[in-house]
């Protein structure tokens, strides 16, 4: 302890000196456009060539004279897209706090955990909660049922359908930059109010407006636009009817949606809303990703003032500021929101976790999955994959050049030692065609030869829970690290047989509400003759775990988010029937069912003591692979065999 104190004590002292009390500071960030993604970012454009750049200031990008149209001799500008940019903007919000999960033997386990605060309907459906700006920035409808603690489980369990994917808490910012429009007419028929205001700015369905100064006063107050008749002519719904003609006069105020949030909605949803694994994230190469972490505190541990962070594990050329290591950057206190920002790195299976006191926060459950999809998915139908990959070589950010790689102009120097995406050796002829489900084929990496193509994909996270540690973690006692011994062995936060239970698992927590605690099953359904991509990551904190396949060979195509390919583009993928991972590792496996009869197969651990759920000598790290007789139906992760 001597040296530890020497490091930490003075920091503590200095920390006291500068700490001031401040109110909560929740907010979200999701700009619809940025300097490098101007225009509309609500869909992924096709990838036909690398983004073409110009300088933000005419003549201001010294050094880019040969490649940028308006570059020049001075140094006052930066590169921005000349036309459309590849990729889009993606946003997500998560909470840091606590929650409970249900183990396969029925035990309810306390967790330090992240929960979803955007994309809730998608996450309940076993899909990533990552959204385009137009979805993320949707305000929860003002005129519908309010958000309830435990949602979406509360609404879904009572026969409702929770379909909202926007950012929880997002509300119009009443006190800031409100635009006022003069009302030229307002009238009501059967609860429906028609009104006319100047045509600019435009209003859309779902926008919040505040009416004031109208007589009769029944019209005044906050409303949500229900229909747009034409520019300047809109409708909203009024609880009263027969209120009479409002006529001209008064104002419609349009408060902006700028990331301002209502903390009550956030607390209603986020308290005890922990998930294991933490909310799934998926982005595409060239995207800008805005991830907001909102720390709501740990209701079961009022003695703790835990900060949380997000570490994007494995990101190449990571930013230390957004790396989530509290020692090396900033950590987010209770009552605060912080937005992490990254340009999506190279495609691959990464994962994420809190980096505060990792042996504690990871064991307690603050672990999640994130993957980056390749731009090869966005190549137009029918075009050559290798030509697209050669095309990517002309952008230095995405290049992985070597002499004789086919891209132009040719190079003579050896490749960047850490680049991982060389043009494949030989002369592959694959084009972008349809998969077995009738969609455009998807790929794990920019392979140029379709060697990483798949029909269905499944994120699978390996983890372990030590029930003694979790019990102590719920109390006020210090935890022991050296004695940590996992007793529950988890795939996507579940042990067998819960791994093969469809849909989200829910757990009733200390707030009395049931929450979707484990949204992701680990059932693998493969269409007849198809290929399933398993994105396997391991965040176990105490030991290595092996996952074996009975029957279907595991084709390992990538390690640690890098395609298995040597610097000359030779394919180094290999077949095996088991893979072994320690905490902090990931790999990609393709299960190829092309010569496999339909039926049920198993993924299980040959660490035989891990085939147990604490005292039950049955269960543990195991799940089923279904090779369907026909196709699969449903969203990717919650799907079923059609026959």
């Amino acid at each position: 302890m001597r040296n530890t104190c020497r490091f930490w004590l003075p920091l503590f002292v200095l920390g006291i000196a500068t700490t001031t009390v401040n109110a909560q500071s929740f907010r979200v960030q999701c700009p619809p456009s940025t300097i490098t993604h101007p225009g509309n970012n609500n869909a992924e454009p096709e990838y036909t060539e690398p983004t073409v750049y110009k300088c933000s200031v005419d003549g201001g990008c010294h050094g880019y004279e040969s490649s940028v149209s308006n570059a020049g001799g001075n140094n006052t500008g930066y590169l921005i897209p000349a036309g459309g940019a590849n990729g889009a903007v993606k946003c997500q919000q998560i909470s840091g706090g606590d929650g409970f999960s249900t183990m396969a033997d029925g035990t309810q386990t306390y967790m330090f955990s992240f929960g979803p605060l955007s994309g809730l309907a998608d996450i309940a459906n076993g899909q990533p909660g990552t959204q385009f700006p137009n979805v993320f920035n949707t305000v929860y409808p003002q005129d519908g049922a309010p958000l309830l603690p435990g949602d979406p489980a509360t609404t879904d369990s009572s026969g409702g359908n929770f379909g909202y994917n926007g950012a929880i808490g997002l509300v119009p910012d009443l006190s800031y930059n409100t635009v006022n429009l003069a009302i030229s007419s307002m009238s009501e028929t059967g609860h429906i109010v028609n009104f006319t205001v100047p045509a600019s700015p435009n209003l859309s369905v779902g926008d919040t407006v505040i009416v004031s100064g109208v007589t009769p006063a029944d019209y005044n107050g906050m409303h949500t636009i229900s229909a747009v008749l034409s520019a300047g002519h809109y409708q909203f719904l009024l609880p009263n009817s027969g209120v009479g003609n409002g006529g001209a006069g008064g104002n419609v105020a349009i408060p902006p949606v700028d990331g301002h949030v209502d903390p009550r909605q956030i607390m209603d949803i986020a308290v005890m809303n922990g998930n294991i694994p933490a909310p799934l994230m998926a982005i595409d190469e060239d995207d800008e990703f805005f991830l907001t972490l909102t720390n709501v505190g740990q209701i079961m541990r009022p003695d703790l003032f835990e900060q949380h962070t997000v570490h994007f594990h494995g990101y190449p050329n990571a930013s230390t500021f957004y790396d989530g290591v509290p020692d090396a950057s900033v950590a987010i206190n209770i009552g605060g929101s912080f937005t992490y920002y990254y340009l999506a790195p190279d495609a691959g299976t990464y994962f994420w976790h809190c980096h505060i006191t990792p042996p504690e926060h990871l064991q307690m459950g603050m672990v999640g999955q994130i993957y980056v999809r390749p731009r090869q998915n966005r190549v137009p139908k029918g075009s050559s994959l290798v030509a697209s990959l050669e095309n990517q070589q002309s952008d230095l950010r995405t290049a992985c050049r070597r002499p004789g790689d086919g891209a132009s102009p040719s190079v003579t120097s050896v490749p960047d030692i850490l680049c991982s995406n060389p043009v494949p050796a030989g002369s592959p002829t694959a084009t972008h065609d349809l998969d077995r489900l009738g969609n455009l084929h998807k790929y794990a990496y920019n392979d140029g030869d379709a060697s990483t193509a798949y029909d269905v994909e499944y994120p699978i996270q390996i983890h372990g829970f030590d029930p003694n540690f979790h019990f102590v973690g719920m109390t006020f006692n210090p935890e022991g690290f050296a004695d940590m011994k996992d007793k529950y062995f988890l795939l996507n936060g579940r042990s067998y047989p819960d791994t093969v239970t469809a849909g989200p698992l829910q757990t009733q927590t200390a707030d009395g509400a049931s929450h979707f605690s484990q949204p992701l099953p680990a059932i693998i359904n493969i269409p007849s003759g198809g290929r399933a991509l398993l994105r396997i990551s391991d965040l176990d904190v105490s030991e290595y775990q092996t996952l074996a396949s009975l029957g279907i060979p595991m084709h390992v195509i990538a390690l640690n988010a890098k395609m298995l390919r040597d610097e000359e583009g030779n394919n180094m993928a290999y077949d095996t029937n088991s893979i072994t991972l320690g905490g902090g590792e990931s790999l990609d496996v393709i299960l190829d069912a092309s010569n496999v009869p339909s039926g049920t197969y198993y993924l299980y651990t040959p660490n035989l003591d891990h085939l147990a759920n604490d005292a039950e000598n049955f269960g543990g790290l195991m799940t089923e692979v279904h090779v369907c007789g026909g196709s699969v139906t449903g969203p990717t992760f919650g799907n079923t065999c059609s026959n």
Partner: protein, 551 residues
């Protein structure tokens, strides 16, 4: 914000004497790492017992290899620029033996372990044992009997890093600390490596180093006899564990043996019978030290038997050779924050494509250490693809360093001027702002808004801003800005550490800190105390900060 700042000033003034006293206690010189060891063709090692210190205050009875009479004999300390070197009679890990490919060398082992500890020996996996003289026959190799010695004559047929460790009762002796590293330097360093990196401007990195008066601490210009293995900087990391019960039991039994008086009724034990299972380690070490001790200097006097540290530093774009060895008996998922590592080879076997012209080792962000296995890999960090200017350049600033140009080379990096502080900047993101609002003397217009700094807690290695280096950090956090500019006006100053950090000061270093650690996270503890164990902070330092590995 303004009243709050005033409040901060007042409270700081009140606490200043206390803070100054605390800082004075704390300020230790920055400590770096390199690959220190002893180089020669004839090594004499002694196996002996001593106590290792742990940051929880424990002294752990251990065995290890050391130099006779505290000097390395005919060998010399390398790299020569490191001062204060010593080779004690016992150290953990044992002395790093630096030899050259194809050159025969000898290792003489003298057994000075306590009475009752039995024979001992050394295995050199991957090296050719050409002959052995002296010693007594053992199971795996020839052993040195108590107070005896044995001499191994060896040669390395290929370059690269390898482990050495006890070949006698390994479950006990290796656990007790009897292991070390052999670094084999290539016999034929390729000319492209002697000319120097980067390939886009041969010798540019060396020119930058010399401009900032930095010393070269490498053992060689390349890791192997291959042009793909040039490097700028190197570090050796050995991972091991300690189960204190085993050490305590060995110590107690040896005391019993030493103090026993035989009689008709008392039969004295003559050998150890230590239970090495079940195995329950509580200390997890890199180069024989637990964090934070591993961040103190090499040869720090407070660790007489643990001379090697773990404290990597590098500049953007420098190719850094990692020599990683698993000692002990467990595997550890060693996770390098910041970037991937290209594995060059295992146990001195370079992994190449079928035509032998290109590298074929995997790219890993977690390099699992395995007992007895040594890996060589290359790491670098450049900030490529961040989509914002990590140097916080500001075209409107009066600071000449804030308006440096970025002239991309064939790979997109600014390598034209080795004397510029943004040497090796990734040019595609040059001048691109990250913050929406201006941030001190760094322009705004970027995508994100930083929250009120009061909802954030700053870390000990946080440089004070999102930007690299003291110039950018000073401008972002304290700088005033008076010149007209084309992008934006100057903003209020951004987030700052509580009042300067201990490990990575905003005004002198302000590097980007990345944690390198075991991702079996319970291993970043020291006997149940967090933080500790297998954890280091790697610093990417801006070009103007001088990395001095000599102390």
């Amino acid at each position: 914000m303004k009243p709050m700042n005033k409040e901060k000033t007042i409270s700081m003034t009140r606490l200043l004497p206390l803070a100054m006293a605390a800082l004075a206690l704390l300020l230790t010189a920055s400590a770096y790492a390199a690959t220190p060891g002893i180089q020669g063709t004839a090594f004499t090692l002694t196996a002996r017992a001593a106590f290792l210190t742990q940051p929880d205050g424990q002294a752990i009875y251990s065995w290890g290899y050391g130099c006779t009479s505290n000097v390395p004999g005919s060998a010399k300390f390398m790299p020569e620029a490191i001062s204060g070197t010593f080779c004690n009679e016992m150290q953990v890990p044992g002395p790093t033996l630096i030899v050259t490919e194809g050159v025969q060398f000898t290792v003489t082992l003298k057994n000075a372990l306590p009475m009752g500890a039995g024979n001992t020996s050394i295995l050199f996996p991957g090296l050719q044992v050409q002959s052995v003289s002296g010693g007594v026959a053992g199971l795996l190799t020839t052993e040195a009997a108590p107070n005896g010695s044995v001499t191994y004559t060896l040669v390395a047929n290929s370059p690269g890093t390898r482990a050495y460790y006890s070949g006698t009762q390994g479950d006990l002796q290796v656990e007790m600390g009897m292991y070390g590293a052999v670094v084999v330097l290539p016999a034929n360093v390729p000319s492209v490596c002697t000319t120097g990196l980067p390939l886009t401007k041969p010798g540019g990195n060396a020119a930058a180093q010399s401009h900032w008066k930095e010393t070269d601490f490498r053992l060689a210009d390349s890791a192997y006899d291959d042009p793909n293995t040039c490097y700028d900087r190197e570090y050796l990391f050995q991972f091991s564990e300690i189960d204190p019960r085993i050490h305590r039991q060995a110590e107690e039994q040896l005391a019993t043996i030493a103090n026993c008086t035989p009689s008709d009724t008392n039969v004295c034990p003559t050998s150890l019978n230590v239970a090495t299972e079940p195995y329950h380690p509580a200390y997890y070490m890199i180069n024989g030290r637990s964090m934070p001790d591993n961040m103190d200097p090499n040869y720090a006097i407070q660790y007489p038997h643990q001379p090697y540290n773990g404290n990597p530093h590098m500049h953007p774009g420098e190719l850094t050779l990692l020599r990683v060895i698993g000692q002990g008996r467990w595997q550890h998922p060693f996770h390098e924050h910041g970037n991937h590592v290209r594995i060059l080879g295992r146990d001195g076997n370079l992994i190449l494509a079928p035509d032998g012209k290109a590298l074929a080792g995997p790219l890993l962000f977690t390099t699992t250490t395995t007992p007895g296995l040594a890996m060589d890999g290359i790491f670098y960090w450049s900030g490529k693809g961040l989509n914002w200017d990590a140097y916080g350049h500001h075209p409107g600033s009066n600071d000449p360093n804030a308006v440096l140009p970025c002239m991309p080379d064939a790979n997109g990096y600014n390598t034209g001027d080795p004397t510029a502080i943004n040497y090796f900047e990734w040019c595609q993101d040059h001048n691109k702002p990250v913050e929406k609002a201006p941030f001190g003397d760094v322009s705004g217009g970027g995508p994100v808004t930083l929250p009120d700094p009061n909802i954030l807690t700053n870390g000990a290695w946080f440089g004070g801003s999102p930007y690299l280096g003291p110039d950018a950090t000073t401008r972002a956090t304290f700088g005033s800005c008076s010149g007209a500019n084309t992008l934006s006006s100057c903003g209020t100053s951004g987030t700052t550490p509580p009042s300067g950090t201990i490990a990575n000061s905003p005004s002198s270093e302000a590097g980007f800190a990345f944690m390198w650690h075991s991702h079996n996270e319970r291993e970043i503890t020291t006997n149940n105390i967090f933080p500790g164990g297998m954890l280091m902070m790697m610093l990417v330092d801006s070009r103007e900060f001088v990395i001095d590995e000599s102390f």
